[in-house]
Amino acid sequence: MTLNQLLTLLLPEIVLTVAAFVVLGLDLIWRGDEVRGRWLPWVAFLGVLLTLVATIAVWPMAGVGGRPLALTVGQGFGGDAIPMMALDGLALFFKLFTVLVLLIVTLSAGEYVQTHTPFRGEFYALMLLAGLSIMLASAATNLVMIYLAIEFLSITSYVLTGYLRDDPRSTEAAIKYFIYGAGASAVMLYGFSLLYGATGTTDLAAIATALTAGSTTVRWLVFPATIMALAGLGFKIALVPFHQWSPDAYEGAPTPVTAFLSVGPKAAGFAVLMRLLLTALPGFQVDWVGVLAGVAIITMSLGNLVALRQTNVKRLLAYSSIAQAGYMLIGLAALAPLSESWTTGLNGLLLYLFAYLFTNLGAFAIVIAVENRTGSAQISDFAGLIRRAPFLAVAMFIFLLSLIGIPPTGGFLGKLFVFGAAIQQRMILLAVVGIINSVVSVYYYYAIIREMFFGQAGDAESIPVTPSLKLVVGVNAVMVLAIALYAEPFIRLATESVQMLAAKF
């Protein structure tokens, strides 16, 4: 592959990188706080839009089974060109996903960033770079690339979490997040090293080949390696028991960052986990399915039960997003490689993620709007929202329905697919626990609904909403409904995205 081809295929990543640096540069060049504050978000937004265009441009270039991108430019290094990333359905799905996350977060962050911090340029630049790392992670097919991308994502996330450096809670959250992340990442790296030691390669597909062909004596290393990798990725996704950082970090971080953290890194974690398990370790499914199922069960249950007692909406959404990740994990656990409709679970996982993207970011946009006005995000701050901001209240109602999983919302469709996959796979226990948990979750989601519609507002003043936040909330609400009402294109997107993984079985 020539350099030119390579650069063409990497176009979305390159555009995003350039956009990030342009934002950084403009932040230095532009004089006047006023101008910077107003226009930098839009520069970032434009950059992400261009990335979207680039993503769409490379979309047709991804062939069946994916196109490997080997990052050995020129012949100077000697040896074979080792594929580092792939441009396939899954990578494209997550590129699109990332672009959507960035679009929504940059739009909803505007006023919050303006009022909370003087350092605006770096905020958007870091946000875009974090997005870049998600794209890289989801496309990586090499252990080294995976590790680098995940670390890249972690470091940008730490900085963003501690971005309000005058706010002790923010700083504390960042430190906790950082230390926890460093530990988890070390464990994961150890797991990767075990895999490398057992097979002598870092390429995921080659690992699979080596494990099936190679000597049986090293096979016992695979399970420990899987567990350790799961610790690192579980930390990104915030799966129980690797979740404990998340409520603290979510609560302390600036709210737009919390919104980003609750969606972006989770998606990256799931993408890598899917690739690692399905591409490198498909032969060891018996080993990891049990672990995943167990983790899914405790993740759902603990997330929901603890969420029951929360009074802060940000913290409540943190625990709720832990539980949501648990539901999604069912899709990966309920995989049936040999049956005809083996992709149902993965379809469900991707659909769920897609619906969750709009649902959760929409809910956080509303939290941001309320917080901008009231200064905090207690459930009691939502009292009487239907009278103070009817639009927000109705949209929040839709998002909460989707989080519970009630039709006609995207969350329902996602749950339908993952639970359906579990039932198809005769993993009845998994489905039953999932459904019981959905029922339990109604209790705390309903607490917000009750406050919004029937609570007495202490302050009857209406809540003004900036046009961009209004746009974000409206578009998200429409998307949440559209995914369920006109599901076919979304399901097709999900199905096509996992096709490449099918080829590996």
């Binding site: 610790a231 028991p241 690797f242 603890v306």
Partner: protein
């Protein structure tokens, strides 16, 4: 013209959007709201008529085979569940009638709800939102290409009928004179009755659909009606019958509820409690037509596996239709409420349609549905105009001080308080006469042609079979029903329009506004000439247009029945006799007298007046036991067992959450972690020295988890 077909989804969508627009945005502006509703349905009518024209021009390949727009909607396992829209000759015929009649009713409503008057209805905008949704439901049902979309639309209509029948079930303001305490009670009861009674049918229909889907895996009409699919359905045995017959009977159950056939007819007369335009909407263009439409659309399922003459499902349709046609008409003889007479007339006429379908003749049943929609809408709107005039007359009389404002006996609906209105309300009177002549079946009004086709069909069947079988009884019931129909209509027009005014209100009644009488005249034109659509001397155009839609199923065949002078002559004579007889008997009836029928019929009249005591029977056999059972269950639930249990479960749940929180904080964070830390003393000690704060604990959890999982693995 084929381009027009792409606009088909808009037909139900436009009224739906009008509904949304009114509810969300314009509900504070009454005039704008009603204009949006009227504009929406008018636009929908335009599109519909464009589609009708396109269907006519497109010729047989659309009229018979149909045009389709499938939309892949929800994947179910490995297949995709399609929903979508379809148009064929049958649909086009419905599309000609439904939106147009709705438009007339909408325009009329603007006057009826007193737009701009001091006594304008306080929920004016809401009324227009509801009727828009109602129309959207019916139009969606007509253009659906599958039973799921049909069922959804069906239920939307069910909801709207509930909301609209109960529209006057509460009063917000004191200026709503037309709503008193009794009215509130009646409206509530009527709305509930309509909803629950039709629900009985809906459950049957839904089980039919579920059964059908479980056998065929599809709900799309075209696929269900494929000959091999019908054969497959016919070969499965269920409850001693072919499955296809069971499905057809269950679907017919739905139609019995929706189209108010015996024994589920009881809700329709009570539905009069809603505003009169709603009655017209329910009785003519939408709700009750839906049941007939369903049976007609699913006709191949009724026939499959048998000859048309002896298909059991079809025979049931004919029998129920004949019973309903005859008994509905007899009840109409003994009612005093002008709208109630028309309600029983609707029930009876729906019976005729079912008779036609039950004889296997799609076109006869639907032809009558179409003509009936026009003249029954006309009659209802006309009766609304009369009531409107009477109410105003009542006010005027009160203002003149001739009667007290609240004499309790007065009801604007009571025909015995009317009289002589043909001079006071000429622009209501003439269209009303046209509607009456059409309903009774006088040449050349619309009802003559359509009713005659059904009777001729039955007559011919009787002649073919040569025995006194089902066709004979159907024909007899139809002909006798025609006589009685003419009698009660004669009685009605005599009481309303002839004689002396029997109450002050009638003396002071005056003509209704143009927005009300205008639609009457338009509809009157259709009542006059609507029969030409399928007149035999024109070569039965409707028959060629829509007769072939079920050909592909290879079980339903369309054959024209030749015009039979004996049948037509007999029914015309009967109709004339009845109409003139009724008119002559009641023309000089005076207020307070015992009416002639009551004198002659005695106890039978009482039986008719009480509608054969069906309501009382249901009250005794069904409602009271159910209410008693509900009371017991309530006690069981609330007082004795379940509620305490639920409270207990709730408490346990909260306790579990508390414990879990505690566990997360205490056990995991400190207890377990520190306990393990002691066990792994050196390791924990090292961690304690190097790090401070809670993150240490978090990380230890990671380490412990990983180690535990590894230990588990190595141990196993």
């Amino acid at each position: 013209m084929e381009f027009f077909f792409n606009l088909v989804p808009l037909i139900p969508l436009i009224p739906l959007l009008a509904f949304a627009a009114i509810v969300l945005f314009t509900h504070r502006n009454n005039r704008l709201s009603s204009n949006i509703a009227i504009g929406g349905i008018a636009l929908s009518t335009l599109v519909s008529w464009g589609v009708v024209l396109a269907t006519i021009l497109a010729g047989e390949h659309v009229q018979v085979e149909g045009w389709e727009l499938p939309i892949p909607w929800l994947p179910t396992g490995t297949t995709v569940f399609n929903t979508g829209f379809a148009v064929d000759g049958f649909t086009a015929a419905m599309l000609f009638m439904v939106p147009f009649v709705c438009t007339m009713i909408f325009i009329y409503s603007q006057g009826y709800m007193n737009l701009g008057q001091p006594n304008q209805d306080p929920r004016y905008a809401r009324f227009f939102a509801y009727i828009s949704l109602f129309a959207a439901g019916m139009l969606g049902l007509v253009v659906a290409d599958n039973l799921l979309l049909l069922f959804i639309s069906w239920e939307v209509m069910g909801l709207c009928s509930y909301l609209l029948i109960g529209f006057w079930s509460f009063r917000d303001r004191d200026n709503e004179q037309h709503i008193d305490e009794a009215q509130v009670k009646r409206a509530r009861a009527a709305a509930l009755k309509a909803f629950i009674t039709t629900r009985v049918g809906d459950v049957l229909l839904f089980s039919g659909l579920a059964l059908l889907f479980s056998y065929t895996g599809t709900l799309t009409f075209r696929e269900i009606f494929r000959p091999d699919m019908l054969e497959h359905l016919g070969s499965i045995s269920l409850l001693g019958m072919p499955a296809v017959t069971v499905i057809a009977l269950l679907a017919f159950g739905g139609a019995v509820g929706k189209s108010a056939q015996f024994p589920l007819h009881v809700w329709l007369p009570d539905a009069m409690e809603g505003p009169t335009p709603v009655s017209a909407l329910i009785h003519a263009a939408t709700m009750v037509a839906a049941g007939v439409y369903l049976v007609a659309r699913m006709l191949p399922l009724f026939v499959a596996g048998f000859e048309t003459a002896n298909a059991p499902a079809l025979q049931w349709v004919a029998v129920i239709g004949a019973i309903t046609a005859f008994f509905g008409a007899t009840i109409g003889l003994a009612q005093d409420d002008i709208k109630r007479v028309l309600a029983y007339s609707t029930i009876s006429q729906l019976g005729y349609m079912m008779m036609g379908l039950g004889l296997g003749s799609l076109v006869a049943g639907i032809f009558h549905l179409l003509t009936h929609a026009f003249f029954k809408a006309l009659l209802f709107l006309g009766s609304g105009s009369v009531i409107h005039g009477m109410e105003h007359g009542h006010h005027a009389a009160g203002a003149h001080g001739q009667t007290s404002q609240h004499d309790d006996g007065f009801s604007a609906n009571d025909m015995k308080t009317m009289g002589g209105l043909r001079h006071k309300m000429p622009r209501t009177f003439w269209p009303y006469m046209a509607g009456t002549l059409a309903l009774v079946g006088i040449v050349p009004f619309a009802g003559f042609w359509s009713k005659d086709e059904i009777l001729a069909e039955a007559f011919q069947r009787w002649q073919e079979s040569g025995a006194l079988g089902l066709p004979f009884w159907v024909w007899l019931a139809g002909t006798l029903g025609a006589l009685i129909t003419a009698l009660y209509m004669g009685r009605q027009i005599a009481l309303v329009f002839w004689g002396e005014p029997r109450h002050e209100a009638a003396t002071h009644a005056h003509e209704s506004p143009n927005s009300m009488t205008g639609p009457l005249m338009v509809l009157a034109v259709f009542a006059l000439i609507g029969g030409l659509a399928n007149a035999p001397f024109l070569g039965s155009p409707l028959h060629h247009f829509m007769g072939g839609v079920h050909e592909a199923s290879e079980v339903v065949h369309s054959a024209t029945v030749s015009f039979n002078f004996a049948v037509a002559g007999l029914s015309t004579v009967v109709a004339l006799l009845g109409l003139l007889g009724g008119w002559a008997i009641y023309r000089n009836y005076r207020a307070g007298e015992v009416e002639p029928f009551q004198r002659w019929l005695g106890p039978i009249f009482t039986l008719l007046r009480n509608k054969y005591y069906v309501d009382e029977l249901y009250q005794l056999v069904i409602i009271r036991p159910v209410v008693w059972l509900a009371d017991q269950v309530f006690n069981f639930d609330n007082r004795w067992v379940v509620d305490p249990l639920v409270n207990l479960v709730g408490a346990v749940g909260r306790a579990a959450a508390d414990i879990s929180l505690l566990f997360d904080k205490v056990a995991v964070d400190s207890g377990l972690v520190e306990g393990t830390a002691k066990a792994f003393n050196a390791f924990g000690g090292w961690l304690r020295q190097t790090q401070t704060g809670r993150v240490q604990n978090y990380l230890l959890v990671v380490a412990v988890t990983v180690l535990m999982l590894l230990g588990l693995y190595l141990y196993l």
